[in-house]
């Protein structure tokens, strides 16, 4: 199972990554991360994650727009 974290905050990403990795230990969880909306969108298309943690307030493409692009 792939989980993608999209967040521009440099410290929040590793925090989430570590927490998720720890929680998913032994369940075959792979945590990926992207540092902005565009990267996140690209990663979603490329990796097709099962779950995405999407930050809303991001410079450039914000979370709402990413979400709309994915859904559209």
């Amino acid at each position: 199972m792939k989980i993608l974290i999209v967040d521009d905050e440099i410290h929040i990403r590793p925090l989430l990554e570590q927490t998720l990795e720890e929680l998913g230990e032994g369940h075959g969880v792979r945590v990926l991360s992207a540092s902005n909306g565009e990267e996140g969108l690209a990663a979603i298309e490329k990796e097709r994650p099962s779950l995405v943690f999407l930050d809303i307030m991001m410079p450039g493409m914000n979370g709402y727009r990413v979400c709309r692009s994915v859904k559209g």
């Binding site: 410290h11 929040i12 925090l15 720890e22 307030m57």
Partner: protein, 583 residues
């Protein structure tokens, strides 16, 4: 205005049309002829009858002609003057509105024409006097052929003429005084008509009576002394003459009144709108007075208007400036508002993000550390103490981080509510369900506190309220949290019940330490904190203020009742969305 005037011209023309003239003159001539007939009755002969017929016919023609000429001139002059005044006033008013000031002498002509009114009146008087005298002279001469009769005729004619002129003067004077007062009232906008044209004022009546007495005496002396006539025909003649004169005068006055009514109308319109000034170009006493009054009023009006216009201009300017300032201020306020909104969301983001990192990493480190230490159980002595100390320090970081998060959340909540940026997701709520949900959220606290029992009591059914569920639960959780914090052992009781037909109450009661009277007063003040809780956990002094803001937002209230040592009772009430009747 001109329409009115053409109507007036028609009316006056009718008054002075030929038929009434012939009738009036006929009356006059016939009365005079009768008098002559009576006078000469002792010399009655066929020649006398022929002379009587000739005299009557001749006098009829003569009177009619004289009256027609006199009144015709009067009428034309009167109408001209009557037409001219309102036209002039209107013109000056237009000029005044255009802003071109009235040049001096502009109304000179108008005033001259106005001055002609009494002059024409006097002309008529003289014409009538001559009209009375000349036929009588002719008749006297024809009948007697004596110079004595001719001389007495001239004397009688002069007396009659002078007295008739005096009569006319009295009437004109009365009319003029009435007109002046009417104009004055018209110009002060109290509205006016000429009240005493057909009837006269006291002064006019006295003058008229004097004139009549003198006229009668003069005529009687003339008849009785010079003509040696008997009393009865002389008196009869006088009465008929007076009636005729009165008829003539009243007809004349009717036309003058109509013309002056129009002047008055014009004056009134000038009074309303400003209008022009009359110029003093003659010596007529009444007209000078009239013009002075008129000019005074008009000047006052012009000054008032100018003053008013200046004031209006100044006010308009002020208002425009104010409007601009207001628009600017409004713009600025809008900017500030959006800045505030942006500030709030960025502050909340900027504060919460690092806090989340700190807290999250502290928890991660603590867990990792705990795990690592428990893996190496064999730690002993100094190392073990050190490990315990590190764990305690990490706990402090975690606890303080949580506290800071709560504080930041509260401050942001409060700021949002105050600035109107809070989003209220209102829906119909059952407060009983909210209480139950809040109680479930408190389960952790209940488990940790074996000595405190929580009792939840929900009255059923409850009227619904309209509010944001999260906020209501926030209030109840806050109250419950406080209750647990300050209650070492005993009970925390939460009750939802209907408060009358229009309110729903949530009561949170505890058996804790209670609040002293001084603290009770300030319990809803921001950052106010009373005695520390028994468990030593400090709050941030913002929980209750937020509860109160939320309650007040929904038109409800929150009240505290407590005394030291006997527990506290908080009542949170909200208005029911639908008035409720207990089944």
């Amino acid at each position: 205005m001109l329409k009115l005037f053409s109507a007036l011209v028609e009316r006056t023309s009718y008054c002075f049309s030929f038929v009434p003239f012939v009738a009036i003159s006929g009356c006059f001539a016939t009365s005079y002829a009768f008098f002559i007939f009576y006078l000469s009755v002792e010399q009655f002969a066929p020649e006398t009858i022929k002379a009587f017929g000739l005299t009557t016919g001749g006098m009829l023609v003569l009177f009619t002609l004289l009256h027609a000429v006199g009144f015709g001139v009067l009428e034309r002059a009167g109408i001209r003057a009557g037409l001219e005044l309102p036209r002039r006033i209107n013109e000056s008013y237009r000029r005044f509105q255009d802003g071109t000031l009235l040049e001096p002498g502009a109304l000179e002509l108008l005033l001259k024409q106005l001055a002609e009114f009494p002059r024409y009146h006097m002309t008529v008087a003289v014409a009538v006097a001559i009209g009375v005298t000349i036929p009588s002279l002719g008749v006297e001469f024809v009948f007697s052929g004596s110079l004595r009769h001719l001389a007495s005729g001239i004397a009688g004619g002069v007396i009659a003429g002078v007295l008739y002129c005096y009569l006319c003067y009295v009437i004109t004077e009365t009319l003029s005084a009435d007109l002046r007062s009417a104009c004055r009232r018209a110009l002060t906008r109290r509205g006016a008509t000429i009240p005493r044209v057909y009837g006269m004022g006291l002064r006019g009546k006295i003058g008229f009576a004097v004139a009549v007495v003198f006229f009668s005496m003069g005529m009687l002396i003339y008849f009785l002394w010079f003509c040696r006539a008997s009393l009865l025909p002389s008196a009869g003649f006088l009465v008929i003459t007076f009636l005729t004169v009165m008829l003539l005068v009243s007809l004349y006055l009717r036309s003058v009144k109509a013309a002056f009514d129009e002047i008055l109308l014009a004056a009134r319109s000038a009074g309303r709108g400003g209008g022009g000034l009359l110029h003093l170009g003659n010596n007529e006493k009444e007209l000078v007075e009239f013009a002075v009054d008129f000019n005074g009023s008009i000047r006052e009006i012009i000054a008032l208007r100018r003053d008013l216009e200046a004031q209006v201009t100044a006010r308009t300017r002020d208002l425009a400036t104010k409007a601009r300032e207001l628009a600017k201020a409004n713009e600025r306020l809008k900017e500030l508002d959006s800045m505030k909104s942006n500030f709030l969301s960025s502050v909340s983001h900027e504060l919460r993000t690092p806090l989340t990192s700190i807290l999250g990493f502290a928890r991660l480190v603590k867990r990792d550390f705990t795990r690592a230490v428990s893996l190496g159980i064999l730690l002993e002595g100094k190392d073990r103490v050190k490990a315990e100390k590190i764990k305690a320090n990490l706990n402090i970081i975690e606890r303080e981080g949580e506290r800071l998060t709560r504080l930041v959340n509260n401050v942001i909540d409060l700021a949002r509510i105050e600035s109107g940026h809070m989003e209220w997701n209102d829906e119909m709520l059952d407060l009983g369900l909210c209480v139950e949900q809040a109680a479930r959220l408190m389960e952790g606290a209940v488990e940790r506190r074996a000595d405190v029992e929580m009792i939840v009591k929900v009255e059923d059914p409850l009227p619904p309220v309209r509010a944001d569920q999260d906020r209501i639960i926030q209030v109840i959780v806050n109250l419950l949290g406080n209750a647990f914090k300050f209650t070492a052992r005993g009970k925390v009781r939460v009750t939802a019940r209907a408060g009358g037909q229009r309110e729903v109450h949530v009561l949170v009661e505890d058996t804790g330490v209670g609040i002293g009277p001084e603290d009770l007063e300030r319990v809803f003040d921001r950052f106010h904190q009373g005695e520390p809780a028994p468990d030593r956990t400090a709050g941030n002094g913002l929980g209750l203020p937020i509860c109160r803001e939320i309650a007040e937002h929904y038109g409800g209230c929150i009240k505290a009742r407590s005394s030291l040592g006997s527990g506290s009772r908080f009542m949170f009430s909200l208005p029911a969305a639908i008035p409720y009747r207990r089944m």
